[in-house]
Amino acid sequence: MCFTQNFWNFLVSGLADGFLYALVAIGYTLVYGVLQLINFAHSEVFMSGGFASLFILQAAIGSSQPHGIASVGFVALGVVGGGIGGALVAYLLERVAYRPLRRRNAPRLAFLISAIGASYFLYNLAGKEFGRNALEIPSPFVNGPVFTIFGATVQTYYIVIAIAAMAMLVLVDRVVAMTKLGKGIRAVAQDAETASLMGVNIDRVIAQTFVLGGLLGGAAGFLFGLNAGVVYTMGFTPALKAFTAAVLGGIGNIRGAMLGGLLLGIAENLPVGCVGTQWRDVVAFGILVVVLIFRPRGILGEQLGRAA
């Protein structure tokens, strides 16, 4: 009973969470593809996108209440601003925390420690500069019920997330499949040394990969912050879940990250009707453990580590 009662409500919120996980998961999976490295500082890319969009929209919207076409414009501004903020931080992370280690052929553990250090540095810096309390992003639109589906009301916020996320997911999929940048990323993921023999500048492709993942992660930080507000610790849990989503879909596989994100969002929301909200994170990380034990290559992963 409990499962069916609010099924559609939880499906709607699950999909909305899922879209955000998908956007962040792509950042993990792209970087894993080219470097075989989990960028554990990606949570701070997400957080930076949230703050960047906060400041931009504070300046642009002020205390006005946008409607209609202006709302669309401000949402786009938030997405782009968040994306650029995320991309900038992702690029700096690559240059400061990872590239020097690559130059020295450092062991894998060094990258992990560097990532955790960079993550602590960034979110504590944000906490010091921007305060310890959650800040509200000025809303670009008036939230409210738009339509009902099987008794579940769909809010404006969910529609904004769905449209913005789908547009970005389709775009990144096409960029990776069709552009020169995408071919470079895939070639480096499949065989970096041979890619360099073809004239691919590996360092440049790696930086571009961080930027691409940072754009999506930063934009997701904005979409998340619209509802939950922006705070220096906001990245931690969503990013860990997005990492779970990337593993679930098959790390290194872009469509796997999309699929994993949506599935995880739905899977952690559906049981809420039965057992309560406090079980959400338990379910999500339970999935991570189960996937790692029984199918470490994920749903769409071919073999571990070779699936870009």
């Binding site: 020169k180 071919k183 470079g184 895939r186 070639a187 499949q190 065989d191 040394e193 041979t194 890619a195 360099s196 023999l197 073809m198 004239g199 691919v200 500048n201 590996i202 071919e302 699936a307 870009a308």
Partner: protein, 238 residues
């Protein structure tokens, strides 16, 4: 001289793989580099391509040193490298693999695709097929085609016959000859010494990181020591 290598020493860690090599390749030549496993053949090619860097000596293309450049920069100077084991991008289509070969170029690739599909018609038939599903011979053709897409002046071939059936080896060697006729210079590393020397103008024999013989290909083919060591014949007087 198109390619000049002088006194080249390359180390992996503290172990020298090349201990002072001299080698030259002239415009439109086919030069064969022969030797046993671990003699330093692949290291020589990797150093030319910028994947390894010398601790002594130099590599020059057209009289200009290239040994300090990274591999993507060397590729931009007109050197195409067909690596050992073919190294096709396994999850890219044949077409995408070929496009990767032309990564640094701009403008239309139509003529280049036509040229490669002319040399290897089977690649044209399998344009949309994923590289990893090709047979070994087809992968070798794709690897050569991919290197040609950059329009190289010098083509480095690392063991193109490795693991292939004799008939396919014959095809590939005849196409290598054709590529030279069309104006590309070739440095060929091989363990299959007979085939390589029949095709080449000149040859070098490398042992333990040193060049031990350098001569016209026909003379190496007739040399008793070469025949004993690399052509599987009994040494004289045994």
């Amino acid at each position: 001289m198109l390619l000049e290598i002088e006194d080249l020493e390359v180390c992996y860690g503290s172990i020298p793989a090349l201990k002072g090599i001299d080698l030259e390749v002239d415009e439109r030549e086919i030069v064969a580099l022969l030797g046993a496993n671990g003699a330093g053949k692949t290291t020589t090619l990797r150093t030319i391509s910028g994947l390894c860097h010398p601790s002594r000596g130099f590599v020059a293309l057209d009289g200009e040193r290239i040994d300090h450049l990274g591999p993507h920069e060397v590729a931009g100077r007109g050197i195409g490298h067909v690596p050992e084991g073919r190294r096709i991008f396994p999850r890219m289509s044949v077409q995408e693999n070929l496009e990767m070969g032309a990564y640094r170029r701009r403008g239309s690739l139509r003529d280049d695709f036509e040229r490669v599909f002319g040399l290897f018609p089977v690649l044209g038939d399998r344009r949309r097929q994923v590289g990893g599903t090709l047979s070994g011979g087809e992968q070798q053709m794709l690897a050569i085609g991919r290197a040609l897409m950059s329009g190289p002046r010098l083509l480095l071939l690392d063991e193109p016959s490795m693991g292939l059936a004799p008939l396919i080896v014959r095809d590939i060697f005849s196409i290598i000859g054709q590529i030279r006729e069309e104006g590309t210079t070739i440095l060929l590393v091989e363990q299959n010494a007979t085939q390589a020397l029949r095709l080449a103008d000149r040859g070098y024999v490398i042992e333990n990181g040193r060049i031990v013989m350098a001569d016209e290909a026909s003379r190496l083919l007739a040399d008793e020591r070469v025949r004993a060591a690399y052509l599987g014949e009994a040494p004289p007087g045994s």
